[in-house]
Amino acid sequence: MAKILKLRELSKKDVLISAGHRMCAGCGAPTVVKMVLMASDYPVIAANSTGCLEVSTCISDYTAWKIPWIHSAFENAAATISGVETMYRALKKQGKIDREIKFIAFGGDGGTYDIGLQSLSGAMERGHDMLYICYDNGAYMNTGIQRSSATPFGADTTTRPAGSAVPGKTEQRKNLTRIMAAHDIPYVAQASPSHWMDLMKKVRKALEIKGPKFMNILSPCNRGWRSRTDDSIMLSRLAVETCHWPLYEVENGVTKITFRPKQKRPVEDFLRPQGRFKHLFKPENEWIIKKSQEDIDREWEKLQKEEALFAS
């Protein structure tokens, strides 16, 4: 089992994604990557699907990654890391390598929820020893804020623009964390950069477990969320405290809520600071907020029930 995290020790660790990458100010993704890589006690090899994180961290001849890193196309980070991990196992078997190496794939929500779901599902089913991390910012931010199946209900995007006829996205957000849990893999978790200790603990736990693991991490995007650059961590905290983004894990089928807000805040607190939800505060769109609240309440209720089921 990995050692217990101490801030003092963490502060001495190398940051494995260097400054100077071209991610926007206030972007959640590099923060997530930094925390994930910092959490590992092992050397890590990462795969990255096409997206903001990928294009902005490997501009022409440069790379921001201080670890071995591979990119293939948009739809197949999970398949790419599968290949790398399989080769590693083969080399290990032949006695050509003896180090313990961990494999992590990073994908955005477009490359995970949508086009990459098939390859992700395949990798999980085959049982590779890998951790897939989805940094979920809720739209195709790299190509200009088009809706994805991770876009929250009611959000304004460029391909589902809010106007007089359509109040933004009218489809439900896909619950990917649950889909992954349904794969019955050893470990699935949801995390947020606002709760860094929780996030890093989950990564450490995941890396100690053999087999396929999945983590869904909320990643604020001030361009797409239409929020202030210095509000990112606050927004991810609000997402957790409103239970829009509940922090929980499913280990070997057992659900455990890892953070329980002292007082569950109304969803408006999360929606209001974001321009993408501005239109929801018009009187005619009140029903969307109401529905969002109902959906959140239902999911939160469900999670608590599941947790209680295993606690008894």
């Binding site: 096409t50 948009f74 086009i115 779901l117 790299n142 190509t143 200009g144 088009q146 199946s149 589902r160």
Partner: protein, 359 residues
Amino acid sequence: MRGNEVIAEAAIQAGCRFYAGYPITPQNEIPEYMSWRMPEVGGIFIQAESELAAINMVYGASAAGMRAMTSSSSPGISLKQETISYLAGAELPAVIVNMQRGGPGLGNISGSQSDYFQAVKGGGHGDYKMIVFAPYSLQELWNLTKLAFDKADEYRTPVMILGDGVIGQMMEPFIPTPCIKSGLPEKDWILDGCKDREPRVVKSLYMGDGELGMRNNILQEKYKTMKRKEVRYESYYAEDAEVLVVAFGVVARIVLSSVIKLRHEGFKVGLFRPVTLFPFPEKEIFMLSGDNRRFITVEMNAGQMVEDVRLSINGRSEVFFYGRPGGSIITPEEVRDKILLLLNHQPYLVKTDFNKWDI
């Protein structure tokens, strides 16, 4: 309006009421425009979960009789190849827009012409062709998009509009000419429910003995008809040109400005611009070839159309090539330099030294 928006609006005017797309730069303005414009005209916009899904939605919508379109850029078009082959096999009309970007792989996001082979030689499997339009101005983008829908229906074939990142992002004046009804007969093959009529079949699977061969012959006959009737091109100062440049799409614009300048300076140069890349203006180029004329093909790739130019000319003239791969723009000055080189009868070539034909 940008080029991408011109395509979207032209498609709407042409009666396209089904669009399925997926984000990829540099064509995002097309799905974005469609997302608000389609509901206005009672059409359908779907953002699919992948390029594969988008083109297959088009396949379904087309079989149901809709004028349907999808768009993407190079890596996304690669993903669509399977269904493009199916569309050709099942003889379903569809319009596919490729706003090319630099490749191979993820490449970059600037304009390129490196998908010429993929578009005209059949990027998918099987013996198929599709009509490929290469617009070079927003006016042509407008006109050809509308024409693409008519030709797709007329021949029951996928039609590709092969643009690039430059033309998609470009703005310039154009006249949005009203759409003239094509006068095509009603589609008597669509799958819209067979109550009170014989069931119809749309498919590309032919397992019977010799069936697929016959099917292919029918397709090839269709492609021959296209070759006879659908060739489009433009030529500028070609008649007495000593050096004739062949270029398509946005490169033709760049070349044209050098050609006009050189003409003013008294040099005998011209430009030949294929508008349809399939069917390729083979005969027209052959007719222009001869001993006293040198050809040069200029492309934003490592040399693709030049092969078709050489095949058309069949050794009657020397054909040189100048290109820039990887999504970088050619300047009129570069083209001018290359033309002047050829006018001065340089480089002197041994005909079998093929490496030196690229200048």
